[in-house]
Amino acid sequence: MSGIVRRFGSLIGMAAIVLFFAVSLPDTFLTARNWLNISQQISMLTVVAATMTVVMVMGDFDLSVGAMASLAGVIAAALFVAGWPVPVALASAVAVGLLGGIFNGVLVSVVGILPFVATLATLTVFSGLAFVVSDGRTVFGRDIPEGFAALARGGLPLGSADGRPLVLPNLTLIAAAVVAAVWVVLEQTSYGRRLAAIGGNAEAARLAGLPVTWLRLSAFAFTGAGAAVAGLMYASRVASANPTQGDGLMLTAIAAVFLGMTLTRGGQPRVLATLAGVVVLGVLDNGLTQMRVDSYVREVLVGAIILLAVGASALGRRSWRRQG
């Protein structure tokens, strides 16, 4: 019995949260519409957290993702203003994310700067660049092409409820595709297992013939590109771009990965667990907002729940070690 609590404690906690909201918000919470809505609300975070997982399996992390998301948004907007076609502008913004990620990777794996320091510095750089590119202003209204804004509004029709259509949002589909891709890469390819090996013991990986430098560099490229994609999704959803709009994603994404790690055996980062972490955070946010909990109080509650989950799992692991 106590074994079940240890292993599935976080899952039970998640179920309890859902149950709590289902009871407190009987008419709105457990509806298909609300869950589709949640899926869209968390789609950006999902993309950032999933690609963050790629570096976290190596035991690294990337603090610059939020700034990169903002930067990608304003770059796309600047290119729209300059009259570039939407697909080209989007591809360019993602390319910038890829380059930024590669830059992080070079700093960490070639130059050998600690990820914390390197990505803290690039966070500042990317954030500054976002202000430079946008001149500190928000781009919105007519400067944002209709086609771009429509992307976030559209989706796959699923039928209707209460006389209104139910739609699986495009952003949710993108997030699902990213999670699926990261899952395949991390769990089903030798590339992914090599990243995990670096997290397990970098020196052993090197001596076993793994190209550690290249692997680390490429993993950061993933994370940078993911951050840019999330930034574009965000810009599309709010049909505007400003140089700080993605900044909040970084801490929440890392929190989601950590929450997910409480679910896995051995406490390792895995992408499906990360997704579960994102869902918990999204459900909390959605439910508490619907209950009209003040947004500052909401932050306190969310922080407390993260601590509770991570702390409980740490204690569980410790007692497991003791009893063996």
Partner: protein
């Protein structure tokens, strides 16, 4: 006479009964050896008696007074000093600080008294003849052998006001030491026992145990087999009690077949401490590398493997020049068992299967990209059987295996790709006699099957027992290559020291 008594100690890890009602006593004034195969429960017993782990049942008592379980401080103040098997050091802290990790730090006015801290460390190092190691140097600057010596020296520190330790518990202290370093340790042990202290001593090196111990306890599969005075037993009997089988010759006979074509050669090789090395090893041949600590034995293997950048010179495998880097080396058919399994070899928290598959991921993948979990598991299982690995399953985390079985996991990894050339650095460190017996046969069998083997070891009997030819290194240079033909241990040691064999 002070006495430590262990009474009915039991400990389970999941399905593994690591200790099963073990009782025996250790007395002051003697060296008491604790022997057993890998996984017999020696380190578990020591973790329990030192308070790092709690027994499922049973008590540890000093002079009849039971010690509270799970309380390292109480063990310390009962006058017991413990050296654990795994290398735990803090590389960023100084040698003196590392030596005081488990001891009260000397203070003045509530602040650390650096002068006395360093002096205490220096005095303890001096006793092991280690005045060359500066107490203020960062621990990370020392090699693994020196780190082990520092940890041993740390057990000799006597904090002011504390009672003199009367029992030293040492878990495989010589596993990482060279002959000369071990001799220095033995001299100190003589001194300690002469002054009335007791030693509980774990080692897989039979000759040491025969020489040092006056009593010996044997464990097998967690159970107590015997505790006897040395005079009432013999090495053959101890081995039989440990393994449950009689092992005749530790080293298998050499095949005597003519070696095949040159499998690996190098010329003008310089890397790290190594200067201008040239050697050749043929298919089916075992080449031993002997030399004192720091002579470049390990560096030579690392340079061949591409783990140490080659500054000059070429390496050829099967006649083809080898590119830089470890990936090229594995791809060319080299396989490597590194010296430090914990820091260089294994992913401790990952399953055995992943550890075995690590260098072979591409070869194991479907279409070279997609993982084939079943194939990976089958590979680990069959390789594990080959090296007689004892693990609950290949899904078990390597860190939960005993030291010797961790070493066998590295062998399983190296052999999984059917290598052309096998590079072994201290391959049987911390491996029990039974497992050594198995590994030696395995190495011989591989050579018989046409694999070229290069074996670097500080264990001279091992080099002499296995190698066909022996390269002697001195101060980074390949000084001499000799046929291993009627060479004695003394001859080889003389060569290592740089005088010609008499």
């Amino acid at each position: 006479m002070r006495r430590l008594s262990l009474d009915g100690l039991s400990r389970r890890f999941g399905a593994v009964q690591a200790l099963d009602a073990v009782s025996f006593g250790v007395e002051a004034g003697t060296v008491h050896a604790l022997m057993g195969e890998n996984g017999a429960g020696k380190s578990t017993l020591i973790r329990i008696l030192s308070g790092l782990d709690r027994p499922g049942a049973g008590t540890v008592a000093v002079d009849g007074a039971p010690l509270p379980p799970g309380d390292p401080a109480a063990v310390q103040s009962a006058g017991i000093r413990v050296l654990h098997q795994e290398l735990h050091v803090v590389p960023a802290l100084s040698v003196a600080e590392n030596m005081h990790l488990a001891l009260p730090v000397p203070r003045r006015l509530g602040l650390v008294d650096w002068r006395r801290l360093n002096a205490a460390a220096a005095a303890a190092l001096e006793r092991l003849g280690l005045s060359r190691i500066a107490p203020a140097a960062p621990m990370g600057d020392l090699g693994p052998g020196d780190q082990m010596l520092v940890r041993i020296a740390a057990t000799l520190i006597r904090p002011e006001g504390a009672a003199a330790p009367w029992l030293y518990v040492l878990d495989e202290p010589t596993a990482a030491l060279t002959g000369a370093e071990a001799e220095r340790l033995f001299a100190v042990l003589d001194e300690l026992t002469g002054a009335g202290a007791g030693v509980l001593y774990v080692s897989h090196r039979m000759d040491e145990v025969m020489r040092l111990a006056s009593r010996v306890t044997v464990l097998r599969d967690g159970a107590h087999v015997s505790t006897r005075p040395m005079a009432d037993t013999s090495d053959a009997r101890i081995i039989e009690e440990m393994t449950g089988r009689a092992l005749s010759d530790l080293f298998p006979p050499r095949a005597g077949a003519a070696p095949g074509p040159v499998a690996l050669s190098c010329a003008g090789l310089s890397a790290g401490p190594l200067r201008d090395a040239a050697l050749e090893v043929r298919a089916g041949e075992i080449l031993g590398l002997a030399g004192l600590a720091g002579s470049g034995r390990g560096a030579l293997l690392r340079a061949l493997m591409g783990a140490l950048p080659r500054q000059a010179g070429t390496v050829r495998v099967g006649g083809r020049a080898l590119g830089p880097g470890t990936a090229a080396a594995w791809a060319a058919g080299l396989a490597y068992v590194p010296r430090e399994r914990r820091s260089e070899g294994l992913m401790m928290r990952r399953p055995v299967a992943e550890n075995v598959a690590l260098p072979h991921l591409t070869a194991l993948a479907r279409g070279r990209v997609f993982l084939d979990h079943a194939r990976q598991r089958r590979l680990a299982e069959s390789q594990g059987r080959d090296v007689a690995l004892k693990a609950a399953s290949v899904a078990q985390a390597v860190g939960d295996l005993s030291g010797g079985n961790q070493q066998k996991t590295l062998f399983a990894r190296a052999l999984a790709g059917a290598p052309r050339v096998l590079l072994l650095d201290e391959p049987t460190r911390g491996v029990d006699v039974g497992a050594k017996f198995d590994l030696y046969r395995l190495i011989r069998r591989l050579a018989g099957g046409g694999t070229a083997v290069i074996l670097a070891s500080s264990d001279l009997p091992e080099v002499l027992g296995l190698a066909d030819r022996i390269c002697v290194l001195r101060a980074g240079r390949l000084a001499q290559t000799v046929e291993n033909d009627g060479l004695s241990e003394a001859d080889l040691l003389t060569l290592c020291y740089g005088r010609d064999a008499a």
